[in-house]
């Protein structure tokens, strides 16, 4: 009976999460269109639906209708597999996101480890896409993505270890509950937050670290030869990843579903879930908006600068942060 319930619960939650990725991508893309347009003194899309809010949705359907072309020298099997891999990596990492108390698809004790493990999968997809396309731009983009994402995963993961040591848990729910009693992790781990923020932007290939796509140099990086819905999957995965990274960041450092004030920071029961979801989405989309604003503000940095930042600045800083945190935990018996 328990097993059956477990399977049912698994099917239900994964389906919901998969379904959730689509409107999420639409909302994030729409935000990107509107915010960038606004910052460039344009109106942005304003014809489809009220205030043009269905523009990204209509884009999504347009992508469905487009011809799906496979270059004839491409490796067909891996070429078709790559978008799926990237998209599944994004969708799978969404499983552990703590939306609200009682609204976590998979609330298990090593959620943070799982998250970083799954997130690393998308690099395989990108590398495969770059290789399978039989195109030099694609291959360059794929290699860049491998170099960049593997490099940044190290400071990204290390920056979180400080928080994990403090809270003494690898479970997202427990981490947020710890923040309820101790204040947001932001106060305890400012350096960790800074490292995490920079590394997370690089990890999901956002400007100023979008070396992988680098439209002006590499056409579209690994996606150059992709068209139709296969391209759509990459595109969706990218924006879903932006949402996920923002969600993880607020869960780790900004109290997750907790309201920013203590009266009350969290409610019980079904109302409590809705209350948590509300705060979770508000905080997450604030960070999505900041990422978009960063994109329209900053220029792309060079590949060597990118790698230099990862290995020479972020990694030592993360190490120091970890040692100091660990020392403090031992010294003050936190």
């Amino acid at each position: 009976m328990d097993l059956l319930l477990g399977v049912l619960r698994f099917l239900l939650s994964t389906t919901l999460i998969l379904l959730l990725t689509i409107p999420t991508a639409f909302v994030v893309i729409q935000m990107e269109l509107k915010i960038i347009a606004g910052a460039q003194l344009r109106y942005g899309p304003n014809r489809v639906g009220p205030w043009g809010m269905f523009q990204s949705t209509i884009h999504g359907f347009k992508v469905l209708a487009k011809e799906d072309h496979i270059p004839d020298q491409a490796d067909r099997a891996t070429f078709t597999l790559a978008p799926w891999m990237v998209y599944m990596a994004a969708a799978m990492s969404m499983l552990v996101i703590p939306f609200a108390p009682g609204a976590i698809a998979a609330d298990f004790n090593i959620g943070i480890v799982y998250f970083f493990a799954v997130l690393g999968l998308s690099v395989v997809g990108l590398l495969v896409a770059g290789w399978a396309s039989y195109n030099k731009y694609s291959l360059l983009g794929g290699l860049r993505s491998a170099a960049q994402m593997v490099s940044y995963e190290i400071p990204l993961t290390l920056s979180v270890v400080g928080a994990v040591v403090l809270a003494g848990t690898l479970n997202f729910r427990e981490l947020i509950e710890w923040q309820l009693s101790h204040g947001w992790m932001l106060i305890w781990q400012p350096v960790g937050l800074a490292i995490f923020y920079v590394a997370s932007l690089a990890e999901i290939n956002r400007t100023p670290f979008d070396m992988v796509e680098a439209d002006s140099e590499l056409v579209a990086g690994p996606f150059t030869e992709y068209s139709g819905m296969r391209f759509g999957f990459f595109f969706f995965a990218e924006y879903v990843a932006l949402f996920i990274m923002s969600g993880i960041m607020i869960s780790l450092f900004f109290g997750g579903w907790l309201a920013p004030w203590p009266f009350p920071a969290q409610l019980d029961g079904f109302i409590g879930t809705l209350y948590g979801v509300l705060w979770f989405f508000i905080k997450t989309y604030i960070f999505v908006a900041i990422a978009v604003l960063l994109r329209v503000t900053l220029v792309r940095i060079r590949v060597d600068q990118l790698m230099g930042v990862a290995w020479k600045v972020l990694l030592p800083l993360a190490m120091v942060n970890l040692i100091v945190t660990a020392g403090a935990v031992v010294a003050f018996n936190l």
């Binding site: 606004g38 910052a39 109106y43 604003l293 503000t297």
Partner: protein
């Protein structure tokens, strides 16, 4: 003191402020800009790094332009009359000033004298009306004009465009694709057939010999203006291969020696000159 990241924050402040600032986009169909009455847009072609323009002669822009803003006749880099042209040498921009404005050396057009030939307008109108002004008769009209002038004078084409109310681009395109001569030939026009039949029967050697004899390449005229050499796939020599055509007569099959002889003979006969071409009927 420099604070790390201060520049980024400054940039973010600027973009965020812009987000709330008034927008500059014209909402086109609803609000339209008021243009000065004499406003003129100017089209420009893109150049590649070697200074050649990148236009690929597809002509599709001219064909779809509803107001005929794109004009496609002129001279290419080797001075050949061609069915497209640099924007700087549109017909209306022939004066040296246009060149100077375009930043090009203001040389006189190499072939400029050739395309302001006077034409017999009443005669041309008669021809057009004889076909009832139907667009499908274009090729027949062109044939008539070519028969009279030996080529299709620019002005005649303009006149056809005007009389028949057909876009100039369309007229020029139909003429350009139809295998008509668009430039007058000086002296006798010697056309060496380069169709597959002639070529494999020794047409190449014939062309080489004539090229050596006359000292000109196809498309050029001898220094004394007596012979213009040309090549064409359309002599349609068939069993006469290899063949050449002098003015309207087809000769073949020819050995190299015979070809030389024929050309030398015809060279002596008086030819229709550039000046006389307009008056001949």
């Amino acid at each position: 003191m420099r604070i790390p990241g201060a520049g980024i924050l400054k940039g973010l402040r600027q973009t965020a402020r812009n987000y709330w600032a008034p927008k500059v986009t014209n909402q086109y169909p609803e609000s339209r800009p008021t243009m000065p009455d004499r406003w003129r847009g100017r089209l420009d072609l893109i150049y590649d790094p070697f200074g050649e323009h990148k236009c690929e002669v597809c002509f599709q822009c001219a064909q779809v332009c509803p107001v005929e803003a794109i004009d496609m006749s002129g001279f290419d880099s080797t001075g050949r009359r061609i069915r497209y042209g640099l924007p700087e040498i549109y017909d209306e921009r022939q004066d040296p000033n246009a060149y100077r404005r375009a930043g090009l050396p203001a040389e006189p057009m190499r072939n400029a004298a050739r395309w302001d030939q006077e034409i017999d307008t009443p005669w041309l109108h008669g021809v057009i009306d004889g076909f009832g002004g139907r667009p499908e008769a274009l090729v027949a009209i062109f044939s008539a004009v070519e028969q009279r002038y030996g080529y299709l004078p620019e002005r005649a084409l303009r006149e056809v465009s005007e009389r028949m109310s057909i876009h100039w681009a369309q007229i020029f395109g139909a003429a350009g694709l139809g295998g008509f001569r668009l430039l007058p030939a000086d002296g006798h026009l010697v056309t060496v057939c380069t169709c597959a039949a002639c070529r494999f029967a020794g047409g190449e050697a014939l062309l080489e010999a004539l090229r050596a004899d006359l000292g000109v390449s196809p498309g050029e005229t001898t220094a004394d203006g007596a012979i213009s050499l040309a090549t064409s796939d359309e002599v349609a020599a068939g069993a006469l291969s290899p063949a050449l055509r002098i003015d309207t007569m087809v000769y073949g099959p020819l050995t190299v020696e015979q070809g030389r002889h024929v050309v030398a003979e015809r060279r002596k006969a008086p030819a229709r000159t550039k000046a006389a071409a307009g008056k001949a009927s």
